[in-house]
């Protein structure tokens, strides 16, 4: 496990034939067993189907099938104004609504060139990192549930999640679908009492991370089941467009917070954990370490947050018509790179509104990672990709 250095070069030597998954020949006699895992299945994270062909217990072929939650968000947005799409972005990746809001606000601010006040930027960072903590804690909890821990570590994670969701409710009025970010700032200002509440929750979080780490990371079962399973090579990861903790677990040092420096992330000191092997265990540990880095970022933001407005007073939020043109804005969401591509034709509604879903693109290599492993490992590998169907299908 190495921390980030300042160079971001990675050796991308490309052996031939690496672009497609390798063929596995079934050995022995008999037929292949074709199994449809899903769409209604206890271990798929939502309505998702995998058609696997098995030779005994080994996976020979795996085809993912989605679309069971396709709610045509992109088409709806073409008929609504820019602000009206904001509540729909909450429902994309419904575990992390605040980072979805932030990505959309960033894309529109790129399109129109609006400035965001300082205090709003700090609030965005605090809320974004709290969302990252929530997401990574739940992801690790669900991963242990898929290993067979029957929900108890998940409930430890959810206990912390509840504390953070109470903070969100105190600030924005809703636990989950917050609809909080606006183009040019945030909707509501935070009171000093709320910031003190964040400080109180933050003081309890490192202890929770220690507890999780002790409980799970020296656990024999976790190590035996997760190490060496679902290996993803870095060249394939970059070429397949993988982003987020999956990419960094394969050893590629690419964190959009460091590369693009959107918002005010260049003011914070934090490290980017990298993995060595690219297996399920590395993705597990990367999420845990990123949670710890998020604690540091929230701590720095709470110390430095200035006063002032949270919304640009000259910003026109409703009924605004951006100039014709297009923009692509992206953030480092907890699941990966969440980007919005907007084409404006000068009217109040976007002409084309496209969401770049990290979960969908991270699933491109699901087949590559699962070939040759057992069915039980497929569940684990799929859990380590950490997808949310609302984002895959939009």
């Amino acid at each position: 496990m190495s921390s980030s250095a300042t160079d971001i070069s990675v050796d991308l030597a490309k052996p031939p034939g690496w672009n497609r998954p390798p063929l596995i020949e079934p050995d022995g006699e008999g037929e292949l067993l074709e199994l449809a895992m899903g769409p209604h299945h206890p271990s798929t994270h939502g309505v998702f189907r995998m058609d696997v062909a098995l030779d005994g217990e080994r996976v020979i072929r795996l085809k993912p099938v989605f679309g069971y939650l396709h709610r045509n968000h992109e088409k709806l947005a073409e008929g609504m104004s820019y602000l009206a799409s904001m509540p729909f972005t909450d429902r994309l990746d419904y575990m992390c609504p605040l980072t979805n809001n932030w990505a959309y606000a960033l894309a529109v601010e790129k399109l129109t060139g609006q400035e965001v006040p300082e205090r709003a930027e700090y609030l965005r960072v605090i809320l974004g990192e709290l969302t990252r903590v929530v997401n990574h804690a739940s992801a690790i909890g669900f991963l242990t549930q898929e290993m067979g821990a029957s929900g108890t570590p998940l409930m430890y994670a959810f206990r912390e999640r509840e504390k953070i969701l109470d903070l969100f409710e105190a600030l924005t009025g809703a636990r989950m679908m917050v609809n909080y970010m606006r183009f040019g700032g945030c909707r509501v200002d935070a009171t000093p009492a709320w910031l003190a509440g964040v400080r109180k929750v933050l003081d309890g979080l490192p202890k929770f991370a220690d507890e999780f780490e002790n409980l799970l990371c020296s656990n024999e079962i976790v190590m035996a089941r997760a190490q060496g399973v679902g290996i993803l090579r870095p060249e394939l990861a970059v070429n397949a467009g993988i982003t987020g903790p999956m990419l960094r677990a394969s050893g590629v040092n690419y964190d959009i917070r460091k590369v693009d420096k959107y918002g005010i992330y260049d003011r914070f000191k934090f490290r980017v954990p990298l993995g060595d092997h690219g297996d399920v265990y590395d993705r597990f540990m990367i999420r845990l370490l990123e949670m710890r880095e998020s604690f540091g970022i929230i701590d720095q933001a709470l110390k430095d947050i200035p006063g002032g407005p949270v919304m640009d007073p000259k910003a026109k939020v409703r009924g605004f018509r951006p100039k014709a043109g297009e923009a692509y804005g992206r953030i480092e969401g907890p699941k990966g790179e969440l980007g919005f591509y907007l084409i404006s034709d000068g009217g109040p509604n976007p002409y084309r509104y496209r969401i770049r879903p990290p979960s969908l693109i991270n699933l491109t290599v699901l087949e590559d990672m699962c070939l040759g492993s057992n069915v039980a490992d497929v569940v684990l590998i799929f859990g380590s990709v950490d997808i949310v169907l609302g984002e895959v299908d939009r």
Binding site: G67, Y68, L69, H70, R71, K75, L76, P87
Partner: protein, 138 residues
């Protein structure tokens, strides 16, 4: 069965099939605005405007998303509903009633929409079309 979240037309046949496979006595809770009527995504070509088009629903939980307390209230409401049913007479539950229908036809994914657009015994309003697609409306 708790149906939480949006039911899309791609998923609807699976949900109806699952309902048919459930053993009696069976109850359905539709959780969230999307499962009740399509919710915020009602103008969707792939969104089913409420799962009660195809299967009977006992308790509806409004909200987007519903609060945890609302879900608990729904369970209590369902328990009260079950307590209110008697063993004989008009008010008896479905599994004691020979004529009551407990399996419903599964819709088929057609070229433009699900066919049929709703199950006639379950959804009282007649929906005119399920087969319009590209082109002009008549």
């Amino acid at each position: 069965m708790i149906i939480s979240g949006t039911v899309t037309k791609k998923m609807a046949p699976q949900v109806v099939r699952l309902y048919n496979q459930m053993a009696e006595p069976k109850y359905v809770i539709a959780m969230g605005a999307c499962a009740i009527s399509g919710g915020p995504f009602k103008q969707g070509y792939n969104v089913l405007k409420g799962i009660d088009r195809y299967i009977p629903v006992d308790v509806h939980i409004p909200g987007c998303p519903p609060r945890p307390e609302a879900l608990l209230h729904a369970f209590i409401t369902l328990q009260k509903k079950i307590d209110g049913q008697s063993l004989t007479g008009e008010n008896r539950p479905r599994h004691l009633n020979v004529e009551a229908q407990s399996e419903f036809p599964v819709p088929v994914q057609g070229e433009h929409d699900l066919e049929p657009a709703s199950n006639p015994g379950v959804w009282p309003v007649e929906i005119k079309t399920g087969t319009k697609g590209l082109g002009t409306r008549d």
